[in-house]
C-alpha cells in the first residue's frame, strides 16, 4: 500500500514517526513543553532584536517608495527655504523627462484636541499621481479632489485626537494656521503611510502655511527609459550648483548613515541574544536527553537501525523546533510591538520615520533557523550512542546519567583558549576599532570558554574551606561541582551571556547618555532663554521672526537677543547638522566635545568667518585636519571652509558643522532664525525673563519659550527615549535568562532525587539538603554572573571606545559598579526565587526513592 502522504523515511513510515512522537509527547508533555518554551523564548529574543533593528529603516524605506513612485531622480533644496517654482517648469521641458512632480516638505507640528505631534508636511499636486507612488489610486482621489485641508495618517490623527472633517492647527514657520482634516489614512490599504509622522496637503496650502509662496523643496523626476544620465546632467546644469541633484530615494541612504551606529550596536545585542537564545534552546533540549536515550535504546533493541534512529530524532527535533520557533516568532513579534516599537525622537526630527514594523520573511527565517538548529544539535546527542562499537543498549547499562562530563584536562585547555582569544580581541580592537562588534561577540565566546575552569577552581576553594569549617553542605556541593557537565556549563553560560550583554550594553548606554547630557548642556549654555518652534528638534526649524527680535531686545530685563541659525544639510551620504552661532555667543563649540584644536583659537576663527568646526566622522571621511579646507553644498553654491576644530558628532550620528551665523546667513541667503538666544540682566530670574519675552512677542502659538533647564531636560529625555529599546532588551534578556537558568537548574536537581534521598538516610535533614541545593545553585549562578560581569565590564570599555572612535559620539568611559551589582542582583533574585521551591521539593524527597523496588 503506497501512499504519497505517508512515505517511508529510512524504512519507517511518516505516520509511524509521527505516532512515535505523539507517544513521547503524551508521556513527557511537561519535559517537552519546557524544552519547547526554552526554544520559543530564545527565538522570541532573537526575533525581537532583529525586528527592532530592521524596523527603523524598513518603514522609512517603504514610505520613500510610496512617495517617489516611479521617479528616479530629484532636485533637492539645500535649505528649508527651498528653491523657486520655475525650476519645475524648466525641468519638465528638459528632453528625456517623462514626468516631474513638485513637492514641498517642511517640518511642522499638528495640534489637535488631544495634543501636538511633530510631522513632516508634504505639499503635493496631482502631478505626483502620474508617478504612481503615494497610493493615490487606493485613495480614490484620482485627481486630488479635495481642495484643501490635510490628509493625516491614522497614527497622527489618533495622537492629536483629530477626526475626519474636524479642525486642527498647523504650526509652521513660527505661525499657526487652522485647517480641516480632509482624510484619515488607515493601515490597510495604505501600509506604512498610516503610521508615518507625515501630513499631506496641496502644494499651494503647504506653501501658504510655511510662508514660502512659489517655492519647492523637491522636484521628483521620472526620466524616460535609458535617459537617466543625460537627464541628471541636464538637471545639474539647471541647478547651477545651488540645488542638489540626487537619486529619488537618496533619503534612504541618508537615513542608513544616520542609524548606522544604532544598527551596529543593536547587531552586537542581536548577536548576544542569538547566543543566549541558542543556549536556552540547547539547555532545554539537554534536559530531555536521558529519557530520549533510553527510548532510542529500546527501539534499537526492537530492530530500528541507525538510519531509522537518526530519522526519528531529526523528525522529532524538526517538529519541536518548528512549532516552538513559530510560537517564538509570534511572541517575539508581540514583544517588539509591546516594548521596542518606539522610534528614537531624534531621528524623526530629520526623517519621517514611522512606527510601522516590517516583519521580513528573512528575519523570520533567521530566527526560526536558530531555533531549529539548536533543537537539532541538542536532540542529536542521543545519536552519540549510535557510534560504532558501542553496545546497542549502552544507556540501559550506564548509571552515570546527568549530562556528559567534560574530560579532566578540558577545562584547562578551554581556559587557555579563552585567554588566547582575549589577547587576540584586545590586539585586534586596539589596532582596528572597527572590529569592536566582532570583538564583542568573540568576547562572549571567551567568557563561555572560561567557565569550566572556574567550576574546577571554585570546587577546589570550597574543599579548602570545608577542611577548616564544619559544614554539612559544602562536601555535597563540591562533589556536584567537580563533575563539570556540559549542562552546568551551559547553565552558567546563559547567566554569563545575559549579564555580559546587560553590563556591556548598559554601561555603554550610560556612558553615551552622560556624554550627550554634557554635550547638550554646553550647547544650550550660551543662553538663558531659548525661543524656538518648540518641537523635539535639534534647533533646526527656522521661523519667521517678524520683528520678534527687536521686540524682545526692548523687553525689560533682557540683556541681549541673538539670532541662532541652522538646519540640516545633505552632504554626500550624510544629513549634517548645521549649527550657525551668532557672533555674541561666548562658546560656540562645546568645550567637552573638542577633540582636536584649541578652543579659544577655534572660537576666534569661527567668529572671523570662513572657518568651521566639523565632527570627526566627517573629517575622517574627507581626510580633514586642522587648518585644511573643505566645501559645503550651500543654496548659494559650493562654499569653502577651513577646519578650525574637530569635535565629536555632538550627539547627531551623521555629524555636525559649527559655523558663524554671519557665514550662514550669507551662504543660505536667509536671516530667519532657528532660535533666538536671550540673555537676561543680572538679578532677573528666568521666570520673570520668560514672562517679559512672552509679552514682547505677543500671541505666537508657533513659538515656544524654554529656559536653559527646560530645554536641557527635553534633550535629555529625547536621548533617553532614543536608547530606550536598548535598555528594555537588556532587561528582558536578563529576565528570560534568569527564568531559563532557574528552570534548567530545577530540573537538574530533580533528576538527582535518589542521591539526595540517600543522604536523608544518612541523617541529613530537609533543611541541610535544601541549604546544599541553594548553595550549589548560588555557585552555578555566581560563576556565570561573575564571568559575565567581568567580561561585561571589559566589553563596556571596548564599546565606549568604539562609540568614541568609530561613531564619534561623546561617550566618556566610567564604571558604575552600582548598576553592575543591580544587574547581578536582579538575575540572582529571580533565579533563586524560582529554584527555591523545586529545591525544597527535592530536599523533601522521600527516603524510599533511594531504595530498590
Amino acid at each position: 500500500m503506497k501512499s504519497p502522504l505517508n512515505p517511508p523515511i529510512a524504512g519507517v513510515r511518516l505516520s509511524m514517526l509521527a505516532h512515535l512522537y505523539w507517544i513521547r509527547l503524551r508521556s513527557h508533555v511537561v519535559q517537552e513543553l519546557l524544552a519547547g518554551s526554552g526554544i520559543a523564548v530564545g527565538v522570541a529574543l532573537v526575533l525581537g532584536v532583529l525586528v527592532a533593528n530592521a524596523s527603523l529603516t524598513g518603514s522609512a524605506g517603504e514610505l520613500v517608495h510610496q512617495l517617489v513612485g516611479s521617479a528616479r531622480l530629484q532636485l533637492a533644496a539645500r535649505s528649508q527655504d527651498g528653491f523657486e517654482e520655475r525650476l519645475l517648469d524648466s525641468s519638465r521641458r528638459l528632453p528625456g523627462v517623462a514626468a516631474a512632480a513638485p513637492v514641498l516638505r517642511e517640518d511642522i507640528a499638528v495640534v489637535g484636541p488631544h495634543g501636538r505631534q511633530s510631522v513632516q508636511l508634504l505639499g503635493v499636486t496631482t502631478a505626483v499621481v502620474r508617478l504612481g507612488g503615494f497610493a493615490t489610486r487606493e485613495l480614490g482621489l484620482g485627481g486630488f479632489r479635495f481642495t484643501g485641508g490635510l490628509i493625516l495618517p491614522a497614527s497622527v490623527a489618533s495622537a492629536v485626537g483629530a477626526e475626519l472633517g474636524g479642525r486642527v492647527t498647523v504650526l509652521a514657520f513660527g505661525s499657526a494656521h487652522t485647517t480641516t482634516v480632509a482624510a484619515v489614512v488607515k493601515s490597510p490599504p495604505f501600509g506604512v503611510l498610516a503610521s508615518s509622522p507625515v501630513a499631506v496637503t496641496l502644494l499651494s496650502s503647504a506653501q501658504r502655511m510655511s510662508g514660502l509662496p512659489g517655492r519647492l523643496t523637491q522636484v521628483l523626476i521620472e526620466p524616460q527609459q535609458g535617459a537617466d544620465s543625460t537627464v541628471a546632467a541636464e538637471l545639474r546644469t539647471l541647478a547651477a550648483g545651488r540645488v542638489s541633484v540626487a537619486s529619488a530615494d537618496q533619503e534612504l541612504s541618508l537615513l542608513d548613515e544616520a542609524v548606522k551606529p544604532n544598527d551596529e550596536s543593536t547587531s552586537l545585542f542581536a548577536a548576544i541574544s542569538v547566543m543566549v537564545g541558542f543556549l536556552l534552546a540547547l539547555n532545554a533540549m539537554l534536559l530531555t536527553v536521558p529519557e530520549r536515550r533510553r527510548f532510542v535504546a529500546d527501539l534499537r533493541l526492537q530492530g530500528y537501525d541507525w538510519r531509522q534512529i537518526i530519522a526519528l530524532l531529526t523528525f522529532q527535533a524538526a517538529v519541536l523546533g518548528v512549532v516552538a520557533s513559530a510560537v517564538g516568532v509570534v511572541a517575539g513579534d508581540m514583544l517588539s510591538h509591546a516594548f521596542l516599537h518606539r522610534i528614537p525622537a531624534y531621528l524623526t526630527t530629520a526623517f519621517p520615520v514611522g512606527t510601522q514594523q516590517t516583519l521580513h520573511i528573512g528575519t523570520i527565517l533567521i530566527a526560526v533557523g536558530c531555533g531549529v538548529l539548536a533543537t537539532m544539535l541538542a536532540s542529536l546527542s542521543p545519536a552519540l550512542d549510535l557510534r560504532p562499537g558501542r553496545p546497542t543498549d549502552a544507556v540501559l547499562r550506564d548509571r552515570s546519567g546527568g549530562g556528559e562530563v567534560l574530560a579532566h584536562r578540558t577545562p584547562l585547555r578551554l581556559a587557555l583558549l579563552s585567554t588566547a582569544l582575549l589577547v587576540l580581541i584586545t590586539a585586534a580592537v586596539l589596532l582596528a576599532p572597527g572590529l569592536t562588534i566582532v570583538g564583542g561577540m568573540a568576547l562572549a565566546l571567551a567568557a563561555l570558554l572560561a567557565i569550566p575552569s572556574l567550576f574546577a577552581c571554585v570546587a577546589r576553594a570550597l574543599r579548602w574551606v570545608g577542611e577548616r569549617v564544619p559544614s554539612s553542605s559544602l562536601i555535597v556541593v563540591v562533589s556536584e561541582l567537580r563533575a563539570v557537565t556540559t549542562r552546568s556549563v551551559a547553565l552558567a553560560g546563559i547567566a554569563a551571556l545575559a549579564v555580559y550583554g546587560s553590563v556591556a550594553i548598559g554601561g555603554a548606554r550610560a556612558d553615551l547618555l552622560r556624554g550627550l547630557d554634557a554635550n547638550f548642556a554646553e550647547y544650550l549654555d550660551t543662553a538663558q532663554l531659548w525661543v524656538t518652534t518648540g518641537g523635539n528638534d535639534l534647533t533646526t526649524n527656522a521661523f519667521n521672526a517678524e520683528g520678534a527680535t527687536t521686540a524682545i531686545a526692548r523687553a525689560s530685563g533682557v540683556a541681549s537677543v541673538r539670532v541662532y541659525q541652522g538646519g540640516f544639510l545633505d552632504v554626500g551620504p550624510r544629513r549634517m547638522w548645521i549649527i550657525a552661532r551668532p557672533p555674541g555667543d561666548a562658546s560656540p563649540i562645546p568645550a567637552s566635545q573638542l577633540l582636536h584644536g584649541n578652543l579659544e583659537h577655534a572660537t576666534r576663527l569661527l567668529h572671523e568667518g570662513g572657518w568651521a568646526a566639523v565632527s570627526q566622522g566627517f573629517a575622517a571621511e574627507h581626510h580633514l585636519a586642522l587648518g585644511s579646507s573643505f566645501t559645503l553644498p550651500t543654496p548659494s553654491g559650493d562654499a569653502r571652509f577651513g577646519v578650525a576644530a574637530i569635535t565629536t558628532n555632538l550627539g547627531w550620528s551623521p555629524g555636525a558643522v559649527i559655523m558663524s551665523s554671519l557665514d550662514y546667513s550669507r551662504l543660505w541667503q536667509t536671516t530667519q532664525p532657528s532660535a533666538l538666544e536671550v540673555n537676561l540682566r543680572p538679578g532677573i530670574s528666568e521666570a520673570a525673563g520668560r514672562r517679559a519675552v512672552l509679552r514682547a512677542i505677543g500671541r505666537r502659538p508657533g513659538l515656544g519659550i524654554q529656559t536653559f533647564g527646560e530645554r536641557r531636560a527635553q534633550y535629555a529625555a529625547d536621548s533617553r527615549q532614543g536608547l530606550y529599546a536598548l535598555s528594555e532588551i537588556a532587561t528582558l534578556l536578563l529576565i528570560a535568562a534568569a527564568l531559563a537558568v532557574a528552570s534548567a537548574l530545577s530540573a537538574a536537581i530533580w533528576q538527582r532525587r535518589a542521591r539526595l534521598a540517600s543522604l536523608k538516610i544518612h541523617g541529613y535533614d530537609t533543611a541541610q539538603l535544601w541549604r546544599a541545593l541553594l548553595l550549589e545553585s548560588i555557585i552555578v549562578l555566581g560563576i556565570g554572573c561573575a564571568v559575565g560581569a567581568v567580561a561585561g565590564l571589559y566589553g563596556h570599555a571596548l564599546a565606549s571606545r568604539w562609540l568614541r572612535l568609530q561613531t564619534g559620539f561623546p561617550a566618556p568611559f566610567q564604571i558604575e559598579l552600582g548598576r553592575v551589582v543591580l544587574t547581578l542582583a536582579l538575575l540572582a533574585a529571580i533565579a533563586l526565587a524560582v529554584i527555591a521551591l523545586p529545591g525544597l521539593a527535592a530536599a523533601r524527597a522521600p527516603a524510599r526513592a533511594s531504595l530498590q523496588e
Binding site: 554539612s472 562536601i475 562533589s479 540517600s758 536523608k760 541523617g763 541529613y764 535533614d765 530498590q852
Partner: protein
C-alpha cells in the same frame, strides 16, 4: 548491648483504591553482634521493614525500638539524629558522590554531623583501611570496581561508628564472588563490634552467610523456610 526490636509491626499503604499490606504484623529482634537476613521476593515488604528500622516511616500499629527507645516517638530532629549517629546504611545502588574521592565519600555522615572535612577524613581513614581500600583512598568511584564502590559505602556507613547496620540488597550490583566478600565483611564487622545487623535481600546466596534468615512473603514472616531456600542450603 544494643538491640533492634520490632513488635507486631503493621504498615499499610493505600495506593489509590487498594491497600497494600506492606508489613502485616511482624515481630523480630536483632541483638548486638547478630547479622540477620530477611529474604523475600520483590513486593514482600522488605524495603518497608528497612525504612521502619531506620525510623523513616512510623508503623500503623506495633512498635519499632532501638536500645529501648521507641522510634515512632522520636521528634523529627531526634529521628534524623538517630540515623546520623546510630544507623549505618548500605544501599544497592551505593549512592556515592561522583568524582569525589573514596575518602571524601566516606566522610559524608561525619560532615553532616558537624565535622570539618579534615576531621572527617581523619576519622574515616581507618575504616577505609578496614574494608581493604587503604591504598586507594584518593580514587574516585569511577576509578574503582563495583565491589570497591560498595566497600566505600560500607566504610561510609561505619565511619561514625554506628550501633546498628542496615543494608538494602547490598550485593545486588555485584557478582557472586564479590558479593560474598562484602557480606562476609559486614558479618565480621557486626561480630567484631557487637552491633546488630539487618540485611534485606532476594539473593539466595546471600542468606548462606548470615547468622539467621527470615523469609518474608506478602508482609508476613513466612513460617518455616522457603522450599527453594531449603533446597539451596541443604
Amino acid at each position: 548491648m544494643s538491640a533492634l526490636e520490632l513488635r507486631e509491626v503493621v504498615k499499610h499503604y493505600s495506593s489509590g483504591i487498594e491497600t497494600v499490606k506492606a508489613v502485616d504484623g511482624i515481630s523480630l529482634t536483632v541483638t548486638g553482634g547478630e547479622f540477620v537476613a530477611l529474604y523475600g521476593p520483590s513486593g514482600s515488604g522488605k524495603t518497608t521493614l528497612l525504612m521502619l528500622a531506620a525510623g523513616l516511616v512510623t508503623p500503623d500499629s506495633g512498635s519499632v525500638s532501638f536500645d529501648g527507645r521507641v522510634l515512632g516517638e522520636l521528634s523529627e530532629r531526634d529521628s534524623a539524629l538517630y540515623r546520623r549517629r546510630d544507623v549505618g546504611f548500605i544501599f544497592q545502588a551505593f549512592h556515592l558522590m561522583p568524582h569525589t574521592s573514596a575518602l571524601d565519600n566516606a566522610t559524608i555522615k561525619l560532615t553532616g554531623d558537624g565535622c570539618t572535612l579534615r576531621e572527617g577524613r581523619r576519622r574515616a581513614l581507618p575504616w577505609l583501611e578496614r574494608v581493604g581500600l587503604g591504598a586507594r583512598v584518593e580514587h574516585t568511584p569511577e576509578q574503582l570496581s563495583m565491589g570497591e564502590r560498595q566497600r566505600i559505602a560500607i566504610a561510609r556507613a561505619l565511619a561514625n561508628e554506628p550501633r546498628l547496620l542496615l543494608a538494602d540488597e547490598p550485593t545486588g550490583n555485584l557478582d557472586s564472588k564479590r558479593g560474598r566478600e562484602i557480606l562476609e565483611l559486614m558479618r565480621d564487622i557486626c561480630h567484631e563490634r557487637g552491633i546488630p545487623g539487618l540485611l534485606v535481600t532476594h539473593d539466595l546466596d546471600a542468606t548462606t552467610l548470615v547468622d539467621r534468615v527470615h523469609t518474608l512473603r506478602d508482609g508476613h514472616m513466612a513460617d518455616g523456610m522457603d522450599p527453594e531456600l531449603a533446597a539451596t542450603s541443604s
